[in-house]
Structures are given as structure tokens and as C-alpha cells.
């Protein structure tokens, strides 16, 4: 009897609590079916001119101290705006959840949001970002055009590129005599000269590696209007069979299927592979390890154009910011020549503006700068979509199953196609 009463009480309590949050948490009030570009909050260059007050910059952990140095430099200018750095965790997933929690709560704590390039579409779709199109247009020629692609949705810019990244092909010069110019050549060399490694574990990195070959072969993930999947194409089949064949031939070692960035770097440094697709950070570490190597921007697939997937971070201005002008003033500084040079040299965060790559001090500190500029210029963004995480999962899950469990490319891609279409129909 008592037990029954208690469970009835629990159900009642549950209902009461649920009803309580119905009014606040449910919040399905407005009927506006507004997509990206609805909040009507635009940031113009003029707003930065006479800006005053405090600004908080929220971005991942300042591991090298460069972020706080640049903040200090800015504050010392006494422009009237005072910037405070708010460090988020090191892990990208954690940064993402910290930022989304604040924005969902309509918090004005973060004026400037440091976002991985792949979150930009999601944040814009949620209405958390201010339109910065006029601010970008005023300085458009400074930026490497490819980097702007990661911040552009529906013809408008929702963030300012802050740093970028692009893949390189590293090769061990004691085993490989000349840099390959096509992926076919690279795999051929790998077969005879000691293997090729990339990020082949089932995660975001595999999506990046697959897309680099796919884009170079003229393939696509989404249709031009972004409304449906177009990944199930002859180009994609060709790329996936090629990657499958590489594993069968022994051009790519079997253990590649467990490698992320660090594992593949270790394999390169230990001589397990003679060629390696990886990010620029490998340069300094492989030099330290005493490997004799050289690097080139990624090769092309067959007769296509070479393509590298862009990484990096964008800076957005929160809709809930109380000081968008001040935020823009700092963003302009942080993406300007002095700060970009500092980030590139001190933290190895590749610059988004062209002129930094020609700076002698930068070239001295990062000798691969000219190659990197080329790689970034031929860079392509990953599909810009609010449901990008699901799209990427559809890609890496199915590519992985084709590479490791021998699923046929045709059926892997048609599965990816239907999963992406399902993701695009997410409410």
C-alpha cells in the first residue's frame, strides 16, 4: 500500500516537474520558421570606430600564451575597449558544449565566440551570430579567399576567419626521391617504397581525408543548393575503390584504420610509413625527431585539381553581446597583420591573411609558410551545414566500413547518401 502510494507520488512529482519545465524549456512559442539570416543584427565597420566598454573573448585554452599576449597588446592601445580572455577547455567537443550552453541560455557573457570552422553554420542557423558581412567586405582583399568560404552561408558572412589549417603530404627523403604529384603516384610509391599513412580511424579525420580525394576528383557531398546529398556518384565510387585498393595492395598499412593525427605521425617518425598526410604541426616535431623529410601541398587525384580540407577557427559575434562594436574592434585587431604574425610564430596557428606568409620573420620561424599558403589557397571547406556532425558521421562510418569490413563502395556510398538525406531533413 505504502509502496503504491510512493510510486504514485513519484509519478505526480514527475508530471509536476515536467509541466514546470514545459513553460520554460519547451519554448515552442514563436511560429517564425526562420533560417539563417533572420535576427537582423548586422555589425558594420563603423560600429568599431568609437566603441567603448568591455568585451569578453571566449575561445579554447591558451596553450602557448599567444592569446593573452595579443589581448594585452590590444588593451595597451587604450582604444577605449577593454578585452578579457575567457579560456574554454582544450577539447573541441567541450568547447562546443560550453559555447552552446551559454548561447542557449541567451547569455551575454561571451561577446566573441571562438568556433571551429565546422560549427559556424550551426551557430548561424541557431541565430546566435550577428551578420558581419559589411565588416568582412571592408577588408575582404586581406583574407585568403578560401578561408572566407568557411564563414559564408546564404551569401552572408557570419564570422571572421581567425586561423586556418591545411593538410600536407610529408615524405621521407631517404626512401622517396621525388614528391608525387598525384595520389595515384603517391600510392604507387607507397607500395614499393614503404607505405603511406593518413588519419584512418573512424572519426572526423577520416571524413577530411576522404573529402580531400573526393573534391580533387570533382565529387561533391551536397547539391549546390545544399538541399540533398550527392555523395553517391561515380567520382566518389572511384575514390573509395582507390582507397580500398591501397589497403589491399599494402600501400597503406592495415593499422592505419586505428590512426588519428598522432598515431600516424608516430608511424611516420618511426619509419613505418614513408609518406604521410597530416597537418603542419608535424613539421617541427618530425624535425626534432631527426627524420629526413620534405613536404608538399596535397597532390591531385588523377587529372583533377588538388584540394585540401580547411581546418581552423572563426570568430563570431554573439547575438546576445552587449558590445558588438567593441567585439568587432578586437576581431579586426586579432585578424590584422601584427596579431596574425604573433599567432603564427608563437602558436603555429596559420594566418588567414595573405601578407603574413610573406613576412621574413614568419618564413624564418615556419619555413613551410610558402607551401602552406599554396595549400590553404587550394583549400576547400567541409560541407557548410547546421547538421554537419551528422553528415560527417554518415561519411566516416560508411567510408570506414568500406575500408575495414570490405563493404562495396557502391553500397557504402548509397548508405551514406540516404543517411545524409535523412540528416538534411532533421527538423
Amino acid at each position: 500500500m505504502n509502496k503504491k502510494l510512493a510510486s504514485a507520488g513519484a509519478i505526480l512529482a514527475c508530471a509536476a516537474i515536467a509541466a514546470g519545465c514545459g513553460s520554460s524549456g519547451g519554448g515552442s512559442t514563436g511560429n517564425t520558421v526562420a533560417g539563417v539570416g533572420s535576427n537582423g543584427k548586422t555589425v558594420t565597420p563603423d560600429m568599431a570606430k568609437n566603441a567603448k566598454g568591455n568585451v569578453t573573448w571566449c575561445i579554447g585554452k591558451d596553450t602557448t600564451g599567444a592569446f593573452s599576449q595579443v589581448v594585452k597588446l590590444y588593451n595597451n592601445q587604450n582604444s577605449g575597449v577593454h578585452v578579457k580572455l575567457l579560456e574554454l577547455p582544450t577539447s573541441a567537443d567541450q568547447q562546443h558544449s560550453q559555447l552552446t550552453q551559454r548561447e542557449q541560455a541567451k547569455s551575454s557573457e561571451c561577446d566573441i565566440l571562438g568556433m571551429d570552422v565546422i560549427w559556424t553554420a550551426e551557430f548561424a542557423a541557431q541565430g546566435w551570430l550577428r551578420d558581419v558581412t559589411p565588416a568582412i567586405n571592408a577588408r575582404k582583399s586581406e583574407f585568403i579567399p578560401a578561408t572566407l568560404g568557411t564563414a559564408q552561408i546564404n551569401g552572408k558572412y557570419w564570422a571572421v576567419p581567425f586561423n586556418t589549417n591545411a593538410g600536407f603530404l610529408y615524405y621521407n627523403t631517404s626512401k622517396v626521391k621525388k614528391a608525387p604529384t598525384t595520389w595515384q603516384e603517391a600510392y604507387q610509391m607507397a607500395k614499393t617504397d614503404g607505405g603511406l599513412g593518413y588519419q584512418g580511424a573512424r572519426y572526423e579525420g577520416l571524413t577530411v581525408n576522404f573529402l580531400e580525394l573526393l573534391y580533387s576528383n570533382g565529387g561533391k557531398v551536397l547539391s549546390d543548393d545544399g538541399k540533398k546529398a550527392e555523395i553517391d556518384s561515380p567520382q566518389a565510387q572511384q575514390v573509395l575503390s582507390f582507397m580500398q585498393q591501397g589497403l589491399k595492395d599494402g600501400a597503406v598499412p592495415k593499422s592505419n584504420s586505428t590512426w588519428m593525427e598522432e598515431e600516424s605521425r608516430n608511424a611516420f617518425q618511426n619509419g613505418k610509413v614513408a609518406l604521410l598526410r597530416n597537418w603542419p604541426y608535424v613539421y617541427a616535431l618530425a624535425k626534432q625527431a631527426g627524420v629526413k623529410f620534405d613536404l608538399v601541398p596535397l597532390p591531385k587525384f588523377g587529372n583533377g585539381q588538388p584540394a585540401s580540407i580547411l581546418g581552423g577557427y572563426n570568430l563570431g559575434i554573439s547575438t546576445y553581446s552587449k558590445n558588438p562594436g567593441g567585439a568587432l574592434s578586437f576581431i579586426n585587431f586579432a585578424t590584422g597583420p601584427a596579431a596574425q604574425k604573433k599567432f603564427f610564430i608563437k602558436s603555429s596557428l596559420p594566418a588567414v591573411i595573405t601578407q603574413t606568409y610573406n613576412d621574413p620573420a614568419v618564413k624564418k620561424a615556419q619555413p613551410f609558410a610558402p607551401e602552406l599558403l599554396k595549400a590553404v589557397q587550394q583549400g576547400k571547406p567541409r560541407p557548410v551545414s547546421p547538421v554537419y556532425p551528422q553528415i560527417s558521421q554518415a561519411i566516416y562510418n560508411n567510408v570506414y566500413s568500406a575500408l575495414s569490413s570490405g563493404t562495396s563502395p557502391k553500397s557504402a556510398l548509397s548508405k551514406a547518401q540516404s543517411q545524409i538525406n535523412k540528416a538534411l531533413n532533421t527538423f
Binding site: 516537474i17 519545465c21 514545459g22 519547451g26 592495415k254 593499422s255 556532425p389
Partner: protein, 310 residues
């Protein structure tokens, strides 16, 4: 004692009983409020979330879908595959932990020099954080530089080039291995406590009657240890059903290691599908509740049966 006397005596007692009960309620209420806030509210809120869809495309929009998210979950192959994987992991790892843990407990129970040291040492794996354990085994089972393959190669044994974490079956085996290594000592500790309450004279009587060591084990130790075994099984089974950290670190769920908790995490945190993700979390909760309910019935029955015998 007359009836009148009884009522006179009872009245003040009843009054004090009522006030005592009220006092008890006052004293307990802060804890109940805390439990309501930290346990009941999140559970109810998760259930509420699981009945909705929150838009990823349209800012701030949500809609009531009733049991739609649950329907989507139970009709998807991912959910059933994750359930199957979770149960395979649970059954095999808990069984191995029980067998190994029982062996360790019997060993620790035997009187010999250095028993105290052994008891302390055995607990070390359990004291290490699971994430730490997972990182360690990930390194050990690395295909190229890992200790496991190096040893196999040095001893010229087959399998020295196995990509442990990159193949179906092997990845699960490593996950089970890591879990057994870590939690068998915990099982052993719980069983040791059970062993220590079995009186010695029962064994002595059996010896006098000429029972062999095996007979003593099967007819005395195991039956008397049953309640302790069931408690240990509950603890381990519920833990194993919620396994998240091992697959998260070892494989990110690749090669047949996506457990229910990991799948719910991917939907909730990575894809931000709050409704469907919550539905998965609630389903996991229901499965864990159902299993623990079964166990409790089993244990309850057992303890009662035990009490009746004595």
C-alpha cells in the same frame, strides 16, 4: 491490565508518536529536497526532452512528438546493434570477473604470510581511473608499437601483427580484457567479505565427515556465498550495462564497440539531437532498471530462502 488503563496509557504515547513522526519528516525533508533536485528533476527532465524534437535548423523551435523518438529508436538498426553489443560485453565480462574474482577471493582468504600485502596489491587495478586504464590498454594493444604485439613477435608466436583495435571481435576482446583486469579485484573484495562470514566449524564438521576439498567448495562455500555473489553481480552488471569510457577511449565505438551509452552520447553531444538522444538515454535507463529489478527479485528470494532454511 484493563481496557481503561490501556487507553490512558496509549494516549500520551500516540501523541508523542505523531510528533516524533513529524519531527522525522522535518529531519528527512532536506535530504528529500536535495534528492528531488539532483536525481528526480534530471530524470523527469530527460523524459520530457525525449518527447520533443528541438530544431537544429530553426532557432529556438521545438515540437511535441510524443513517443516518436522512441519509435525511431526501436526501429533503427543502430539501437539494436548497440543493445546487442552492450549485452555481449556485459555477459562475458561479468562472467569472467566472477570466475576470476572468486579465485582471487579464495586465494586471499587462505591464511598465509603476506596475505595483507596481496590484498592491497590486488586492489591497485581497481583504484586506477577507467579512462587511465583505457589509455593504457590502448597503448599496449597498439598494432605497431604496442607491448602486446612486441611480445608476440619476440616469442615468435602467431598474431604479432594483429591490428587489435581495428577489427571486429578483437576490439571487443580488448575491451572485455581491460574491464576484467580492472574490476575482477572489486568482485574479489566483495566475495572475500562473504567468505569471511562463513563459520570455520562448518568446514571442520565436513572434514570430519570425510568431504573432499571440492565437495566442501560446492556444498558449503558456494551455497553460503550465494548472497554475496548476487550482490557482487548486481554491482558489476549495472556498471557493465552503462559502459562508456572504455569504448570511448579505445575505439570511439568503431569495429563493433558502440555501446548504448556511447550511442546516446553521440546523438546527444555530437549531433545535438536532444530529443532522440534523450530517448536513447531513457531507454538505457529502463534497460538497466529492468535488469536490476530482476536481480533484486532474485536476491530477495534468495535471502528469504536462506532465512527459512536456518
Amino acid at each position: 491490565m484493563s481496557a481503561a488503563q490501556a487507553t490512558v496509557a496509549a494516549r500520551p504515547r500516540r501523541r508523542s508518536e505523531v510528533s516524533e513522526r513529524r519531527l522525522a519528516a522535518y529531519l528527512v525533508s532536506p535530504s528529500l529536497i536535495v534528492i528531488a533536485i539532483v536525481a528526480a528533476y534530471p530524470i523527469c527532465y530527460a523524459i520530457w526532452l525525449s518527447l520533443h524534437q528541438y530544431s537544429l535548423i530553426h532557432p529556438g523551435l521545438s515540437r511535441w512528438v510524443g513517443l516518436g523518438n522512441y519509435r525511431d529508436a526501436v526501429t533503427s538498426s543502430e539501437f539494436w546493434s548497440a543493445t546487442k553489443i552492450t549485452f555481449i560485453f556485459t555477459v562475458i565480462s561479468v562472467f569472467l570477473e566472477l570466475v576470476i574474482g572468486l579465485g582471487m577471493a579464495l586465494l586471499m582468504h587462505a591464511a598465509f604470510r603476506g596475505r595483507a600485502v596481496l590484498r592491497a596489491v590486488v586492489l591497485v587495478p581497481w583504484a586506477v581511473l577507467t579512462v587511465g586504464t583505457a589509455m593504457m590498454w590502448k597503448t599496449i594493444f597498439d598494432a605497431d608499437l604496442g607491448f602486446a604485439n612486441q611480445v608476440l613477435q619476440a616469442l615468435h608466436l602467431p598474431g604479432g601483427h594483429t591490428v587489435w583495435l581495428g577489427q571486429n571481435g578483437y576490439a571487443m576482446a580488448v575491451m572485455i580484457f581491460a574491464d576484467v583486469w580492472k574490476t575482477a579485484p572489486f568482485m574479489a573484495l566483495l566475495l572475500l567479505a562473504g567468505l569471511q562470514v562463513i563459520p570455520d566449524d562448518v568446514y571442520e564438521a565436513a572434514k570430519v565427515d570425510g568431504a573432499t576439498a571440492w565437495q566442501r567448495f560446492t556444498t558449503i562455500t558456494l551455497p553460503l556465498l550465494r548472497p554475496a555473489i548476487l550482490v557482487a553481480l548486481i554491482f558489476r552488471t549495472l556498471d557493465a550495462l552503462r559502459i562508456f569510457d572504455l569504448p570511448f577511449v579505445l575505439t570511439q565505438g568503431s569495429n563493433g564497440t558502440t555501446t548504448l551509452s556511447l550511442y546516446a552520447y553521440q546523438q546527444l553531444t555530437q549531433n545535438r539531437l536532444i530529443g532522440p538522444g534523450s530517448a536513447l538515454a531513457v531507454l538505457t535507463f529502463v534497460i538497466v532498471m529492468a535488469v536490476s529489478f530482476l536481480y533484486i527479485r532474485l536476491v530477495g528470494g534468495n535471502i528469504r530462502a536462506l532465512a527459512d532454511e536456518t
